[in-house]
Structures are given as C-alpha cells and as structure tokens.
C-alpha cells in the first residue's frame, strides 16, 4: 500500500509541455489515409451507379444527362456523408477518392455542403436547367 504513487508523474508533467493541441492555432497534418471530402473524376466513370447504391446515407447522386455520351454530374452532400469510403471501395474504375487535406468542412450556411462534380459545361447545364424549372414552379 502506497500513497501518492503518481508523484513522479505529476512532477514530470509539470515541467513537460501540455499534451493538448491548441487546435485552431496549432495544426497537425491529417494522416495520409484520412477520409476527408469526396472527389469524383468524371472521365473514368462508366455510370454504373454502384457507389450510389452502396452509400449508406444517400450522400451521393449520379445525375445522368446523356447516358450514351457518358455525360454525368455527381451531387455530393458533405453533411450527409459518413466518410465510410464504401463508394471508394465499390468503384471499379477508381474514379472516387477521399482527400486527406480537405477535412475542415464546417460551415455556418447550408449551401456549401452540396457540391456538384463533373465537366464544367455539364454542371452549368444542369444548374441552369434546375434554376429554370424551379423558376417555373415558383411562377405557377
């Protein structure tokens, strides 16, 4: 039976730098495999929809503009995503990856959470089309 067996440790800790990382001031790098934001490369995609089917939280949607010419746009909701990387594992053409640098995804507004990936002209085409339909609905 001893009393105060931690005395050595508390004295050591007293002279040591605190273990706490003062996060926003002091940043450490996320490890290489860290699962941050999802990225999609439209060139390789075959439009098989396996990633969409396997997503446990409906965070991704592959919008088909033209199936024959392989014109796809991917809608990705960062707030719905659970960062499990099942879509990355399911993709047979390696067109999905999770970026280890993009992990500070907090936002005060809802809009930045939804991103559209794809060739620029496809995305702008889709957004223009959606804007037009929503305008139509609102005027009705």
């Amino acid at each position: 039976m001893k009393i105060g067996s931690l005395i050595g440790d508390i004295l050591k800790s007293f002279f040591k730098k605190p273990a706490t990382i003062l996060y926003p001031v002091e940043r450490i790098h996320a490890p290489e495999r860290y699962r941050g934001q999802l990225f999609w490369e439209p060139e390789k995609c075959s439009g098989c929809q396996l990633c969409v089917k396997d997503c446990p939280s409906n965070a991704i949607e592959l919008i088909v503009l033209d199936k024959v010419n392989k014109r796809f746009v991917m809608r990705y909701d960062k707030d719905k995503c659970t960062y499990c990387a099942q879509c990355v594992a399911s993709c047979r053409f390696a067109c999905l990856n999770m970026n280890s640098d993009q992990w500070e995804l907090a936002s005060l507004r809802k809009e930045p959470f939804t991103v559209y990936y794809g060739k620029d002209e496809d995305v702008s085409f889709l957004l223009a089309e959606r804007a037009a339909t929503s305008h139509l609905h609102s005027t009705e």
Binding site: K2, I3, R35, Q86
Partner: protein, 393 residues
C-alpha cells in the same frame, strides 16, 4: 422537486440526465442516510430502432449502420456482422484480411479499456488518472486514424475483407506506440493495486461471487473479474484468433479492484496479440468477391467486444436486404449485476459500481416494453404504431 419523500423512502434519482452518466439511463436508489437499501433501473431512453432500420437497407449499407450501434466498440459490431454475412454467403475471407480485422479489434480493445480506466478514475474523483489514461488513449486513436482513415467509426471492414492494408510505416508506428503504452500500463497496474486512496474506493466494493456472476449471465471483463472463464476469443475462435490465440485473464475476488486489474491486464494481452500479428502478418489479398444477394438462411455470429460477448443473429431471405438482424450487446447482460450488488453500499460507491461494468446505454436500448397496470406486456408492430399515433395526438 417539491416532494422529496415517497412514503418512508428517500429516493435519489440518477438520470436520465446526470453528470455521472455520459448517456441517458434512469436509476432510482433508495437510501437510508448514505447507505443504499434498494435499486431499480429503467433503460430505453436512446432506443434508435436500428434493428428495424437494418431490414430496410442492403447488407453493405447495414455494415455502416450497425457500426454506429456503439461509438466505442464500433469495429467489433461491423466485424460481427461481416463475419455472419460471409458465413451465410459461404465466402472464405483472405487470411490477411482476417488478421487485420483482429489487429483493429485488439487496438480498439486497448482504446476502450483505457477509456474505461479514465471514466472509472473520474467516478472515483481521481481526475489526474483520468487525464493521463485519456492522453495515452489518444496514441491508439491516432494509430487507428492512420491505419483506417477514421478515428471513431473506423469503417475498415467491407463484406469479404478489409479496405486498408498495413504498410511498414504504420507497422513501425504501432510497434513503438505499443512499447510506450506498455510502460504506461505497468504504472497503471501498480496504481490500481497499490494506491491507497484508490484502493479505499475499490477493494471490497461491489463484490460479486462466481455463482452470482454465472446466474446473472454476466459477460466479458465483469464476469472474468468474478472468476468466470468466459471469452469468445477462446470458446469459439473467430477471424484470426485461431492463429493468434488470446490468453484469458481472470481474477477471483469479484470486487471493483478485480475489474480494474482484469481490464488493465487485458491491455498486456492486447499488446502481445498485436505484436504477434504484426510480426507474422500473412500475405495475400485484402478482399474476396462477395455476392450482393445473400443466399437464404440464418446464422449467428459471436465476437468478444471489449465489454464482453457480442451476439448477432442474421436471417436472409435471398435478397440483398436482410430479413432480420438481432443484436445483443454485452452491457444488457451486465446490468443485472449492478442492481444485485448495489444494495448495502454507500451512495458514493454507486457511480463506481455502475461504471465498473463499463455500461454502454445506447447499445442496450433495443426493446420496447410497456409497464402497464397489468404488468409487462408485449406489443406487436401494428399496436405500437397505433400507440405512437395516440401518444403524439
């Protein structure tokens, strides 16, 4: 609270919201001065309907849903489910994948036991040990993040294997961290067996005899602290535990001190297993081909979670969605032991006894039972729906 007395009894309510509980649960302790004369428990505040939700999703999606049953032992849930589904599909998972699953499971055990050590120390008012244990736990968390890509819900399993491989950098990182943690564990073991103020709070408190432990069906470290040799890793080896056998750690006294010792000594066992796996990691593929539609059938899958036996029952109807998934988590088995041992102790010991089983409330809450005037009654799905509509009208 205008009325403090119920008849002659003075009842101290703990929960649903209470600083001693990190999750909601409700306990009522009848006290006479400082001595507890009666105890009752009510669970079910965080029922999430996960089992029903699992029937609505595909097997692949369920893997991530079930992983979220428990935030601390997330990997074993995914592993138990994956092992069960692979058994149903008749798929043999590569050896390397099985070994990596066991590696992550043991690292998770270290993180869970260190977390428990911190929480139990905090309940005992020993905040320095709490801070130190959690500081050291951070090492394992970082390693898991490095290996799997996530800190809490590792999501390293896929049906038919694992997603990530162990490379040399990660192996060296894990081995050096294990050396550091081993020196710390020596200190913690010394602390829980010799520090007088801590022993004053643990020795002879919450004693559970071997027979009682067996009768109440306790599992995991709680049972092993009472001398019961229960460990699924040995009784029914799964994944790679046949190649890397675990050794059982038991204590005979069955008090809180024994639960401390068993958990701290199991850390050594995890270090040994991790070193063994890393030195003789079998080569080969990480995944194997897995059908999307699982053949009709039913199976059970048992694994040893950090808290004890985790039980999965999976029934398939031949489609890509399970017909039924039934989960029994270890905490539900251990809860009865709290109620059985609490009576006769001081009120100050109750949080210690409660945390001694390492309870996980949200894991437990998966049953609907309504306390009516005619006692317990079972309700079916339709009645429950009508009850819900009536309740929220």
């Amino acid at each position: 609270m205008p009325e403090t007395k119920h008849g002659d009894k003075f009842i101290v309510p703990i929960g649903p919201q209470h600083p001693a509980l990190k999750e909601p649960g409700h306990f009522e302790f009848t006290v006479d001065g400082e001595t507890v004369t009666g105890a009752s428990v009510r669970l079910g505040f965080v029922h999430r309907g996960i089992e029903k939700a699992a029937e609505e999703r595909t097997y692949i999606q369920d893997l991530y849903l079930l992983e979220r049953i428990c935030g601390i032992c997330s990997h074993v849930h995914a592993m138990a489910f994956a092992l069960g589904v692979e058994k149903l599909a008749g798929v043999t998972v590569p050896e390397r994948a099985q070994a990596i699953r066991v590696l992550v499971a043991e690292m998770e055990r270290i993180h869970s036991h260190l977390l428990w050590l911190g929480v139990a120390a905090h309940e005992a008012g020993f905040d320095t040990l709490f801070m130190y244990a959690w500081r050291d736990r951070e090492k394992v968390m970082d390693l898991l993040e490095q290996l799997c890509g996530n800190r809490v819900n590792y999501s390293i399993n896929v049906l038919g294997g694992v997603k990530e491989d162990v490379n040399d950098v990660i192996r060296d990182g894990i081995l050096s961290a294990m050396d550091y943690l081993e020196t710390r564990t020596v200190l913690y073991l010394k602390l829980v067996t010799t520090e007088r103020t801590l022993i004053g709070r643990t020795r002879g408190i919450g004693i559970m005899e071997k027979q009682t432990a067996a009768r109440l069906g306790t599992v995991g470290p709680t049972a092993r602290a009472s001398g019961l040799e229960r460990d699924i890793r040995l009784e029914a080896p799964y994944a790679a535990y046949l190649q890397y056998p675990a050794r059982i750690v038991t204590e005979q006294t069955g008090d809180l001190e024994a639960r401390f010792i068993v958990r701290v000594k199991e850390l050594y066992e995890s270090f040994r297993l991790i070193r063994g796996i890393l030195s003789t990691l079998p080569g080969g593929e990480l995944t194997t081909k897995m059908p999307r539609r699982i053949p009709e059938g039913e199976t059970i899958s048992r694994v040893e979670a950090p808290r004890g036996e985790l039980f999965y029952y999976i029934k398939s109807n031949g489609s890509d969605k399970p017909d039924r998934v039934k989960v029994r988590t270890p905490s539900i088995n251990n809860f009865a032991s709290v109620m059985a041992t609490a009576v006769g102790h001081k009120l100050a010991d109750i949080p210690m006894i409660l945390s001694g089983i390492d309870p996980c409330f949200s894991c437990n809450d998966r049953m609907v039972s309504i306390r009516g005037s005619e006692g317990q009654q079972a309700v079916d799905w339709e009645e429950l729906r009508l009850y819900g509509i009536e309740y929220y009208r």
